[in-house]
């Protein structure tokens, strides 16, 4: 097995990165998220870490899988996907493949379906083992809430409380200020006895490294992580200080931008543009 996660003497550090919401686009905040995923994977797997997406919650949509590959194909890593709905076309030793990874990324979608399909294929126990072996677990939206005891899902239409795998104690609500109805349902649920937890805006994240409290991260100005807890019948929401993740422009893109600016300047000079 690769990396520092499996050295017999030391207990591997258990790491989970929960993200409130993002895509695999070429926009700066999405690039910043990809850089972070790559960095975490490299800390375990070295120069060319293995990164696998589990797009189960989306129903293994090709859009998500394609955007994941186009984001990581240009980066130094070995990307792969485990599509449980597509295994017929491309058989794969599930357990071996997942346990060979440095980072397993879980995509968004329906939390209810995600957990149901994982249960049917017995994936949860593999992921729990992966976590204990130091493989980084990461994900956004449903792919972030699944690690907690509970979350707020729209899997059945309206936002409702749902249980997760419980690798992390407490609860999580994603798309926090981006979806006010979800946030409202979360505040109600915590008031009604759901375990205390966190709210994450799109492009905000929380990183657990070992025991203790997580560190908050943000890839977009204004995107925040919140601690949400019930105290004496009142739900308190407090923003957490977060580290900003800058988005380095890839070299190829910088060339493109320079070229575009040259053309724009020429057009302006020629009076084509206002």
């Amino acid at each position: 097995m690769s990396g520092n996660g499996s050295l017999g003497a030391t207990t591997p550090v258990r790491r989970i990165l929960a993200l409130g919401g993002h895509e695999f686009s070429s926009q700066p905040p999405d690039r910043a998220v990809c850089e972070l995923l790559l960095r975490l994977a490299r800390e375990r797997g070295g120069e060319r870490p293995r990164i696998c997406i589990l797009p189960t919650a989306s129903g293994d949509t090709s859009e998500l899988i394609a955007s994941f590959y186009s984001a990581f194909a240009e980066r130094p890593c070995e990307p792969s996907d485990v599509s449980l709905f597509r295994l017929g076309r491309r058989p794969l030793a599930l357990r071996d493949h997942l346990l060979e990874q440095d980072l397993v990324y879980v995509g968004g979608g329906s939390l209810l379906n995600l957990l149901a399909v994982w249960e049917a294929h017995d994936i949860a126990s593999i992921l729990s083992l992966a976590w204990r072996q130091g493989i980084v677990l990461a994900g956004q939206s449903a792919g972030a809430m699944c690690w907690f005891e509970a979350g707020i899902t729209k899997s059945s239409g309206q936002p409702t409380a749902a249980a997760g795998l419980g690798l992390l104690g407490g609860s999580l609500c994603v798309h926090y200020n981006n979806e006010p109805d979800r946030r409202a349902a979360y505040l109600d649920a915590v008031g009604d006895g759901m375990p205390n937890g966190y709210g994450l805006d799109d492009y905000a994240g929380l990183l657990w490294e070992g025991e203790g409290t997580p560190s908050a991260l943000t890839a977009r100005r204004g995107a925040r992580a919140y601690r949400v807890s019930s105290r004496e019948g009142e739900v308190v929401e407090s923003p957490l200080p977060a580290r900003f993740l800058p988005a380095p422009a890839p070299a190829a893109l910088r060339e493109d931008i320079a070229e575009f600016r040259r053309i724009k300047t020429m057009r302006k000079r020629a009076g084509w543009l206002g």
Binding site: G59, T61, F85, G88, G109, S110, N113, V117
Partner: protein
């Protein structure tokens, strides 16, 4: 409420998913509804609600011959809010192919399993191919991923089932082995053949291809008795509907 018989049509493979340009099996199930403009709901759950599959359903079940709809369990924010009400208002529920393990998992999570039993008992015709066939039976042989495996279905039909049946195929070999190891007897269907059950009885086998057949299989000690069933080819308009009588019998000993 009308007292219609309980009906399930289990395709070994075929219909719009696999036989583009050959609508015989799809026409057959539409005809069973007895409705002039049947309400047809497609459940693509086994494919993960793949967009291209949903589009193909709407093209095949166009609005001039029926009232089509679908339910995406991965996109509940769209589509009908009350799943039970929507499903129980249909004439035909059509289940697509894909991963039967994932299908059953997702259905359980949304309570679809019990709604489908209700629909069946209310006389709504249930049909499907591949995973959409296996799901109705008590036991099934799934060859979707790697080695064929045995698994439990919804159990509306108290038999075992095997799809995409082929003489020299790995599924047939595995099915025979499972039967010898104690799997209950049941039915297999080749691509293009469909098993039509009324209540829990096989009423007839129909086919969209002249050579496609259905089979009855039972274990007798260490032998497997495989009976080829007389099948009606739906492309021959004048052919009377055949009773599901044995056409040929074979037994495969333990070594098979």
């Amino acid at each position: 409420m009308k007292t219609a018989p309980r009906q399930i049509v289990a395709f070994g493979g075929g219909g719009f998913s696999m036989e583009s340009g050959n609508p015989l099996l799809d026409d057959y199930v539409l005809g069973l509804t007895g409705a002039e403009r049947p309400r047809v709901c497609f459940l693509p759950s086994a494919s993960g609600d793949a967009d291209h599959y949903i589009v193909r359903f709407y093209r095949a079940f166009s609005a001039h011959r029926c009232e089509p709809s679908h339910i995406s369990l991965f996109r509940r924010e769209q589509g009908p809010g009350d799943l039970r009400r929507h499903l129980l208002s249909q004439d035909l529920i059509y289940v697509g192919g894909g991963s039967v393990v994932s299908l059953l998992g997702v259905w359980r999570a949304h309570g679809i399993d019990s709604i489908l039993r209700e629909a069946w008992e209310a006389g709504i015709v249930l049909c499907g191919l591949s995973a959409g066939s296996l799901c109705w039976f008590a036991e099934a042989v799934s060859g979707f991923h790697g080695e064929p495996k045995q698994l439990r279905g919804l159990g509306l039909l108290p038999f075992s089932n095997c799809v995409h049946y082929e003489r020299a195929g790995a599924r047939r070999q595995a099915y025979h082995r499972f039967l010898r190891e104690g799997m209950r007897g049941g039915y297999a269907a080749e691509d293009g053949a469909a098993l039509h059950f009324v209540g829990e009885e096989l009423s007839r086998v129909v086919a969209s291809r002249p050579q496609a057949r259905g089979y009855r299989l039972d274990a007798a000690g260490q032998r497997v008795v495989e009976m080829r069933i007389a099948t009606t080819f739906l492309g021959d308009r004048d052919a009377p509907l055949a009773a599901p009588l044995p056409e040929a019998l074979s037994t495969a000993p333990a070594a098979g």
